[in-house]
Subunit: 165 residues, 2 copies
């Protein structure tokens, strides 16, 4: 890949369709990578919604919960890859991610409160055939190379365009 | 809520369990909000994996695709809420989100390349019983109040702890 940097360029995609209220459905399939358009055998579809206490119908997780899921999944996949590369056999990896949001921000009731998470905490439980120190290093290296950790702790330029017909 | 700011404090959560290779499964259910512990009638579970070209089995979307899904879902739910508040009847809302990642970053092959998305683009198609300008304003106001847009374009403190037995 180092001699052919073009094959390292990926573009991922998701589409979404509004259903009603806060309920909408996302679809994930095609992406560009390794120099070509790629697709899966079938679409992955995911409903998102708000809970009743936030005027939704609980037809799926909230968008912000999907973000926590993405972070756990990214750190876990990385950790497993790094363990394999280092010859460490994992027997169990579990994690919990939680994040605090103060709705006064989203609702526009307090300009000093941000819209998104104020803090996110990740707790890993890792078991495998290596000393505790080596297992901890797997998590640390995964964090260092995690795409989702990067986009949450850093800043991504996001552009939005709108068509109305 | 302004008179009782405590009920605006929410904590969302996701748990994850490693299955094998880059395949892992996330579970979303309980959260704290409106002053109490809340739960859904059933767990939401989501597999994540890498595609074969990234040494996975395509058992689910990649973690970074879940991030794009979360962004589309957040902007769409917000847009629908704002339309309802403004008395605009929506008939169709669709969106596509794409993001560019150069794997030279994640793979540690080029220190000048970030791990995460270099750029994310969102395209909305909105139809409803209001002039184009009013429909565009819905997207703009949703962006302004979106929690997922905020965490991607801003920076969130993320702490990670590890237990090994």
């Amino acid at each position: 890949m180092k001699g052919q940097p073009e094959i390292a360029k990926f573009q991922f995609r998701a589409t979404n369709r509004w259903i009603n209220g806060t309920h909408n459905r996302g679809t994930i399939n095609g992406y560009y990578g390794a120099g070509q358009e790629m697709s899966r055998a079938q679409d992955f579809t995911f409903d998102a919604d708000h809970p009743p206490v936030l005027v939704g119908g609980d037809n799926g997780p909230t968008p912000v919960e999907y973000v926590l899921h993405a972070l756990a999944a990214c750190l876990t996949a990385g950790l497993a890859n790094i363990a394999a590369a280092r010859g460490i056999q994992l027997t169990e990896v579990q994690s919990t991610v939680d994040g605090d949001i103060d709705l006064l921000g989203i609702l526009g009731l307090d300009d000093t409160v941000r819209n998104g998470y104020q803090q996110i905490r990740v707790s890993f439980m890792v078991k495998g055939d290596a000393p505790a120190e080596k297992l901890r290093e797997l998590v640390e290296q995964s964090r260092r190379r995690s795409a989702v950790f990067d986009v949450l702790t850093g800043s991504v330029p996001v552009s939005i365009d709108v068509t109305t017909a």
